[in-house]
Symmetry: C2
Subunit: 191 residues, 2 copies
């Protein structure tokens, strides 16, 4: 593998997201620096569009030369994709209990997490996406991660929820790790 | 009352909102014209901020001299204010049934609708707000209005839901009518 030593800023207010992404990037020889600035997110059904607008706003910081922003969502099939792009708001208002209550008596438990990473630099804005499929558990389990991790069991795992996995294990499967890996592969040859 | 004949554009994709607002404005001698253009909404907990950004975007249309935009939300006390600023998204994904399911077994049924109208013109951007308090019904009733109207019983009414009232009757109580009335009073002396 070609040795690279690049620094990219990741604009996010979520420390858990930053930690997951930084480990993925480090494994590709890219250093992610946490950029915690106020920005607004647009309302849209398209994660890539939300991430793109966030990254382009953040690039207005004149000290930055390449910035990534990420938007992620938890999509529950039986709820028509809810909470989707509004997952962090819904998590704050209803918690995992709200999703479990909406699924009471519902047999179809399929769900997925999706992530869109947008990188904005002088070369333009490029987006990279990752998805992980799985099911909503019957009750919350685990203490790691954040958001809806305690109720999501990825298909590729052994039946445990994301919140029952430490960061490195979650990164073997997660939507965010997939999207950031794609970004890093691109960045190594293109940035 | 001073006779005025003013035309103001209302930027919205929701025809029901336009019809309610246009009647309120007409009763104040102001003609609201429906402006149906693509715009993005920001994600924020503050309705006035969302309306303000929407109005300021719409004013970029060079033919406009004064534009109003409105953001409204349905805030359920027992759900920590959910769905709030994301009411239209939540309505599309979960419908009124989702709110009723989240409130199953919950005695506290208090809720309110809030509206923020932002007017953007050469004079700057000004916001006007309206709130109507009430309760979430046990089941949906009525065919008028839109969104969560079938499950909202305003305190000032006679026990019927907003969806059991025609536009003129809803306008006697509604958050939107209150906010647009404040706007119109201001517009008559200031625009």
């Amino acid at each position: 593998m070609k040795e690279v030593s690049r620094v990219v800023q990741f604009s996010t207010k979520n420390k858990g997201k930053y930690e997951e992404a930084a480990r993925v990037a480090a494994s590709h020889g890219i250093q992610l620096v946490h950029l915690n600035v106020e920005k607004y997110e647009i309302q849209a059904d398209d994660l890539a569009m939300i991430a793109r607008v966030a990254a382009e706003q953040a690039l207005k910081d004149p000290s930055a030369w390449a910035i990534v922003a990420e938007d992620a969502g938890f999509f529950v099939n039986a709820l028509n994709g809810f909470p989707g792009p509004y997952s962090s708001y819904v998590y704050r208002q209803l918690g995992v209990g709200g999703i479990l209550k909406l699924l009471q008596g519902v047999d179809e438990r399929g769900a997925y997490f999706a992530s869109a990473v947008a990188c904005c630099s002088e070369r333009g804005t490029f987006c990279f996406e990752g998805v992980v499929k799985g099911n909503v558990s019957l009750e919350p389990k685990g203490i790691h991660g954040f958001g809806f991790d305690p109720i999501f069991i990825p298909d590729m795992g052994d039946g445990r929820t994301f919140a029952e996995m430490d960061v490195d294990e979650k990164n073997r499967y997660s939507h965010r790790a997939i999207a950031f890996s794609k970004f890093c592969e691109w960045a190594k040859s293109s940035l």
